[in-house]
Every structure is written in C-alpha cells, then in structure tokens.
C-alpha cells in the first residue's frame, strides 16, 4: 500500500469520525466547507481549461430555488425537484454555451456573457417576489426529520450527504483529468483551430464539460438550499456568488484535485475567523481584509495554494534528480 493511499484512508477515517468529536458550530462550518468545495470543484472542471464562467451563481441559484419552490408550493419532494433543477440548469448551460462556443466567444467576452447570465437569474428571482419572496428571501416549510422532504435537524445527516457530494466532485474531476478529454480540452484551450484540425469536435467537448459543470453546481446549490433552509437571491445566486466561486477556486488552485477544497477551507475560515475576531466592531473591516488577502493570494500564487505547493515539490524533485528533467529536441 502506497504512502498516498494510507494518507487517503486516514483522511477518510477522520472524515467519518468527525461528527462524533467536534461541536455543532464547527460541524456546521465543515458542512459548508464541503458543500462549497463541491461547487468550487464543479466550477474548476471548466475553469481549469480557461473557460472562465462568471455564471455559476445562476446555476447554483436555480439548483437552490427550484426544489425549494416546488416543495413549498406543490409539496413536491426534492427527490424530484432536484433532478428538475439540474435539468433546467443544463438547458440554460446549453442555451448560453451553444451560441458562445459556436461563434467562438472566448476569454473576456465569454466571462461577460456568463456574468450577465448570473445577474439575469438574480434579477428574475428578485422580480418574481410574489413567488420567491424577492430580496427578502423565503424559508422552506419544515417537517422535521424526513427523507422524503430531505430535511434533517440533526446535522450529522447533512454532514454525510456533504461528504458524499464532495467525493462525487473529486471523482468527476479525476475522471476528466485521467481521460483523453483532458488533453482535448487542454488543446482546445490553447488553439481551437488546431484542435479541430486533428478531428476534435470543439463545440461538443466544450459543451460537454460546461453541462457537467453546470449540473454539478446546481446539485451543490440544491443541497446547500436544503441545508440552510432559508434562501435569499444574494446568498445563492448573482454576481457576488459567481465571483466567490471563481476567486475561491483560483486561490485554492484550479489545476489540482484538492485546490478548490483548499480554496473553500481558506475562504470560509477567513470569513468566519475575521467575523468572530472583529465582532460588531469595525464594520466592513473583515470583508476588506478578506478581499486584500484574496487579491494577494491570486497575484503571488497564480497557480493557487495547492498548485504552488505542488510546483515547489516538483522543482525539488527535479533538483534532486537532474537526469529526470524533460528532454528536448532541437532539430
């Protein structure tokens, strides 16, 4: 058994045992870290290939609101509401993605289109105030412990769901990373014409990863909505949420499996730590420090925290074994 496998098993054992020895407040934080880590990983599936979407707040909002509204108004179980919200998110991803990818809308322009999508969904949620509660938000009907309603007063259940979800995110990331799709998407991100010339269906590959990313983000939003029970457009959708997803993923490292998770751990710990530290004093200072630290992190560690650590490790390995350096041909 390799050292990494042993570490993984120890990590999983700690994860399983965690709810038994940490106080409820910290369990609540861990659940949030895992759920956001899942969403950040979902974003990184496409973000790592340079398809920078500022529209994931839209998918998260749809994921959170659709099952909650269907439950509140029609008593429809989230077991049906969540797949429906995923379907709507996928449809929206195709409606936005297809023309963008077909017309080669890339880079900043793609970011702007998706940014608009985020805001459209947020404004729609606010505008439909009779149904959604508008900017005041709304609370889901509670029924106590129920698998049918996917509601659990005991945080342990949501902790279990969050762990499974997080592992699904990591699995999806690894499936793409280890498949030939990863190489195709790398090629597309560098040069779409050259990729098409070797037979890669650029449109299909980009749509595929966008749809997977959107669906997983919506799933994360849905579970997050089920967990917090109170939904507000500003906290589950819109530009602020999209920016949070992008910045936290990049800060952690979009090119590494655990980068988005570290991003989630860092941002949530920072937010909570600063909030507790400042309390009611210096209103806004916590957010300012949080913003400055994130900016510094992104400027000085463009590969993210995990990416930077991996880079240092790789450099050390190369220095230790100079013969292992990649060879090059100069003909």
């Amino acid at each position: 058994m390799t050292f990494n496998r042993v570490l993984t098993l120890i990590g999983l054992a700690i994860l399983i045992a965690l709810p038994t020895f940490i106080p409820p407040y910290f369990l609540h934080l861990v659940i949030q870290i895992l759920l956001w880590a899942f969403i950040y990983t979902a974003w990184a599936l496409m973000g790592r290939f340079g398809f920078v979407s500022f529209g994931h707040g839209a998918f998260m909002g749809i994921g959170a609101y659709v099952p909650a509204l269907l439950w509140n108004y029609y008593d429809l179980t989230p077991w049906i509401g969540i797949p429906l919200s995923l379907g709507i998110s996928v449809l929206l991803a195709i409606i936005i993605g297809y023309p963008c990818f077909r017309l080669k809308v890339v880079g900043h322009y793609f970011a702007l289109v998706t940014l608009a999508l985020s805001q459209v969904v947020l404004l729609s949620l606010v505008a439909a105030r009779d149904v959604t509660g508008g900017s005041l938000g709304f609370t889901q009907k509670t029924v106590g412990h129920s698998w049918y309603a996917l509601q659990f007063p005991d945080k342990g259940y949501f902790y279990g769901i969050a762990v499974v979800l997080w592992l699904i995110g990591l699995l999806a990331w690894q499936r793409i990373d280890h498949g030939i799709s990863r190489e195709a998407l790398e090629a597309i991100s560098e040069d779409e014409d050259a990729a098409a010339a070797v037979g890669i269906n650029v449109l299909r590959e980009k749509l595929r990863v966008t749809v997977i990313s959107a669906a997983l983000t919506a799933l994360g939003g849905a579970i997050y909505g089920q967990y917090i029970m109170y939904l507000n457009p500003e906290t589950v959708s819109g530009i602020a949420v999209s920016l949070q997803i992008v910045f936290a993923s990049i800060a952690g490292g979009v090119y590494s499996l655990l980068g988005p998770t570290v991003g989630s751990l860092l941002t949530l710990s920072l937010t909570e730590g600063l909030r507790v530290w400042f309390g009611a004093n210096f209103i806004g200072a916590a957010n300012t420090i949080y913003g400055i630290l994130l900016v510094l992190c992104i400027i000085f560690m463009p590969q993210g925290i995990v990416g930077t650590i991996e880079g240092i490790k790789a450099r050390r390995r190369r220095m230790a074994k100079p013969s292992a350096a990649p060879s090059n041909v100069r003909t």
Binding site: I180, A187, E190, D193, N201, S327, N328, V329, T331
Partner: protein, 241 residues
C-alpha cells in the same frame, strides 16, 4: 480523388478566391503556389474546413465536403499542417500526436492504439516518441515535423501541407521535401503542398497550380511553370518594353 469546382471566397467586398477549379488524382503531389495574397492559403483553408466557401463545390471521392466543419473534414480523411506551427504547448510531443490519432478516428480506436499510432507517426518524421519530450525549446524544423506527425496520425488519405519549408535552412528544406516525397511513396497519401519557395517544391511535385489575385493562372508540369510568361510575370514583374 478531390474535385474543386468554381470555388469562390469573398470577404466583404474583397474576392480572395475567384472561380478556382482543379482536380487531384490519387497518389499525386500537387503544388499550390503563388505570391503573397494570391489566395493559396484561403483555398487551403476552404478545403480544410477552416473557412466556408461563398460558392463552389469541393468533392472528396465523390462526397461533397464544402462547408463542413474542420473536425468533420478531418474525419473524412483530410489532414492538414499549419504554416506557422501550432503545437499544443501544455502537452508533450507524444500527447500532441496521440490526441490526433484518437480524435482523427472519431474516438473509434482505443487510447493504447492511438498511442501506438502516434509513436509510429513520430518515428516516421524522425521525432522521439518518449513521454518526457515537451514542445518547449523545439526548433523550427522539429515543430514542422510535429505538425506533420500530428496530421499523419489522423490517417489522412489527403494531406494538406501548408508552407512546410518556411523558416528552414537549405538542408532542412531538402530533408522536408524528401520527407513529403516518402510520405507519398511509403504511405500512399495524396498531397497538396502550398508553398511560396518554388525551388525545392518543383523537384518533388507532379503538377503545379499557380494562383494570382485569387484566380488560377497556370496549371501544368513544374518545368512548364518555370518558363510560363504569366507565372514569371507574377513572380518577377512585367519585362520592360
């Protein structure tokens, strides 16, 4: 094998390719030459699917391919290289070519088989097929070879070679020309070779087409092209009266 009929490409008010027609026979090497701005690269991009024709027809073994997207053109058996090499820098040499071998066959082969074919293509052009060789630091000639290996890995029946001699010294040019000749003789691949350096090209091609201002002004044997007054005029200018 390939029939191009009355091909036109218009960019706004500018007619880049005007009523160009020609046929290509199986196993032939056709040189497509002309001065800068003559329309040869546009013609090439129309055949490869990087541009859509304004009008006209392109048939590959009887099948109309004009206007198909580039990846479908590739699946139909046309491989291409680029004038300025466009390697995928984040990937190693073998990954660059494996990708072409895999997707060139629409993913119908296994990754292992694609890898094997990629190694073959790299061997064919004389590049290493180990996993560690990256594209950084490759010289002009090696990058041109990589372009060629990537195109060959898609198993084309027709290869479109875009200025394969650009940026090479005399010896490298001769080697590149020989390589194209051996691709035809060993693999039976038909080739259209776009070039503006005429000397080496004339030694290898069976036939040349000369374009000027988007129109075909000559079609025939290389030796005839060298003495044709219209061809010498577009390259050297009109003789003084």
């Amino acid at each position: 094998m390939l029939v191009v009929e009355r091909l036109c490409k218009r960019f706004g008010g500018f007619l880049a390719v005007n009523q160009v027609s020609f046929e290509l026979r199986q196993g032939e090497i056709l040189g497509l030459i002309g001065p800068n701005g003559s329309g040869k690269s546009t013609t090439f991009n129309l055949i490869a699917g990087n541009l859509r024709p304004s009008s006209g027809s392109i048939r590959l073994e009887g099948k109309e391919i004009a206007g198909l997207p580039a990846h479908q053109i590739c699946h139909n058996g046309i491989g291409r290289t680029f004038q300025i090499p466009r390697p995928f820098r984040k990937l190693s040499l073998i990954e660059n070519v494996t990708l072409a071998a895999y997707y060139g066959q629409s993913g119908a082969i296994s990754r292992a088989e694609a890898y094997r074919r990629a190694a073959e293509a790299l061997d064919m052009v004389g590049l290493p097929s180990d996993e560690s060789t990256r594209t950084e630091g490759l010289g002009a000639a090696a990058l041109k070879k990589l372009e060629l290996a990537r195109a060959l890995a898609t198993k084309p029946r027709l290869l479109l070679a875009d200025e394969s001699l650009g940026g090479l010294d005399r010896t490298e040019m001769e080697r590149a020309a020989d390589l194209l000749g051996s691709i035809r003789s060993k693999m039976g691949i038909t080739i259209i070779w776009v070039e503006h350096i005429m000397g080496v090209l004339m030694r290898v091609v069976d036939r040349v087409i000369v374009l000027d201002h988007g129109e075909k002004i000559f079609e025939g044997a290389p030796a005839q092209a060298a003495v044709d007054p219209r061809v010498t005029e577009v390259y050297l200018g009109k003789p003084r009266a």
